[in-house]
Symmetry: C2
Subunit: 133 residues, 2 copies
């Protein structure tokens, strides 16, 4: 029983081999699309149904065990839920990297000028990574 078993159960998700492998794929890749996840899963479960992928992704989303990241001009990717963070994407090689940025002052400015009570933020930056420059 590895540590993911426990974490899945904490989210009221049965720790099936398929889910453990999805979790592993998410952990290993950091961010993964449905399509790529299916490919990865097929290597371990040669007859896994695509429906199983979708059902689990949706259940995991509902349980807030994972989160969707919507990237401009790209297919959505999914990641294990962690502390709030931003993303930075390389237009050239496609790398998706987590980045911790302090948005406090931006958010407080936004709250002031909009009169919104702001609860969440999603920031995606894009450009070229060191390698691709």
């Amino acid at each position: 029983m590895n540590n993911y078993t426990e974490i899945l159960r904490q989210h009221n998700l049965k720790a099936t081999p398929q889910r453990l492998e999805i979790t592993n794929a998410l952990y290993t890749s950091g961010h993964i699309s449905i399509e790529n996840l299916y490919d990865v899963m097929l290597k371990k479960f040669n007859s896994i149904s695509l429906a199983t992928i979708y059902k689990n992704i949706n259940l995991m989303l509902e349980a807030s065990f994972i989160q969707e990241v919507k990237i401009p001009n790209e297919k959505s990717v999914y990641e294990l839920t962690k502390e709030t963070h931003s993303h930075i994407i390389c237009d050239s090689c496609g790398e998706i990297r987590d980045i911790e940025l302090n948005l406090d002052s931006v958010i407080s400015n936004a709250a002031q000028s909009s009169n919104y009570n702001i609860k969440k933020s999603a920031l995606i930056l894009s450009g070229t990574c060191k390698n691709c420059q």
Copy 2:
């Protein structure tokens, strides 16, 4: 010949009645989904094809005449291209509002810590608007 005719042509898009109306719908609504756009268009062109909507949205995107806005947990919406801006969404009533925020310092921090050459940013804030609080 209204002003949109000119702007469409500047983007190498023929100024058809359908495109003028799409443009008008985008202007009027600010941000609109494919589904809602189709509904709006049907009122003016009772036999417009959904394919026409998709084809035009894609052509307009390629021409950078419009842009897609991907909102967490929502369907994508489209808007006329304008100066870079952020978005703030009300979880309760669904309002999508433009907001101009200065992200310079956030971006320069990000550039420094990631070694990326950052070209674009997409920030979406969410919470509850004044009315819904």
